[in-house]
Amino acid sequence: MNEKLTKFRFFLDYEKEEDWVNDMSKQGWHLISFNFNYFTFEKGEPGQYIYRNEMLSGLGAKDQSKEYIEFLQQSGVELVQRRFNWAYFRKNTSDGPFELYTDTSSKITYLNRIYTLFLFLMLVNLLSALTNLTGLFDYQIILGSCNLTVAILLFIPFVKVKKRRDHLKKNLDLFND
């Protein structure tokens, strides 16, 4: 058994989280599982893997993402772990560069998926906050404040994703890909 290490980290930006996981790998700590904000690493050869995370499409359409994961695996991509619609993949560094999305239009499609999800969750929490904060019971103040906090926390990555997407869209004015 190789040495293991578990770390707790909270990222608002999923790209920063991915960068961190890749930095850990460069130091010889390879992600083998995650549970919300707990990340478990296994000691290995520094820089052996490139990691990518992805928000899989459709929570309801489970079969479709299963088919997608199988497709990735057949293309030589290893699934590290999947929890709900959040997944980590990795590939050996020696296989060359590893990106899931390589052209502008597919990157935009992916960002739109995240954008819609963040927007939806933000609106649900805002609406819930509004209902609770104007409610009659004491506990609703606490619930409402929690909803408001979540909505505010979601707003930060939401704006980042929107910026990334809009930047890519501008590229399409000049470039075909």
Partner: protein, 105 residues
Amino acid sequence: MKQDLPPLTEGVYYILLSLYEPRHGYGMIQFTDEMTSGRVKLGAGTIYGAIKTLLDRGWIKAFEEDGRKKEYIITDKGKEVIEYEILRLRELFDNGIRITGGSTK
């Protein structure tokens, strides 16, 4: 109708070319990598989405199952699209060479 087709992305262009012979997803990635000497690397997520779209458009179709890997092949409609694209590229190329006299490198 074909006159209205916008330019294909490099990815779609090479996916269609690769499917003149039946190939699965990974085969398309390798073909593209080889044809462009590593310049165009297709991500698995990108190619998965492209396959779905091309199937919807009827430009490619499922060939037969090779174990668990699905193989695809280009359709007649897909061939028309790529032939039109090649004409468009030739026009771009010819005009470019005529005006600039070609690359000096």
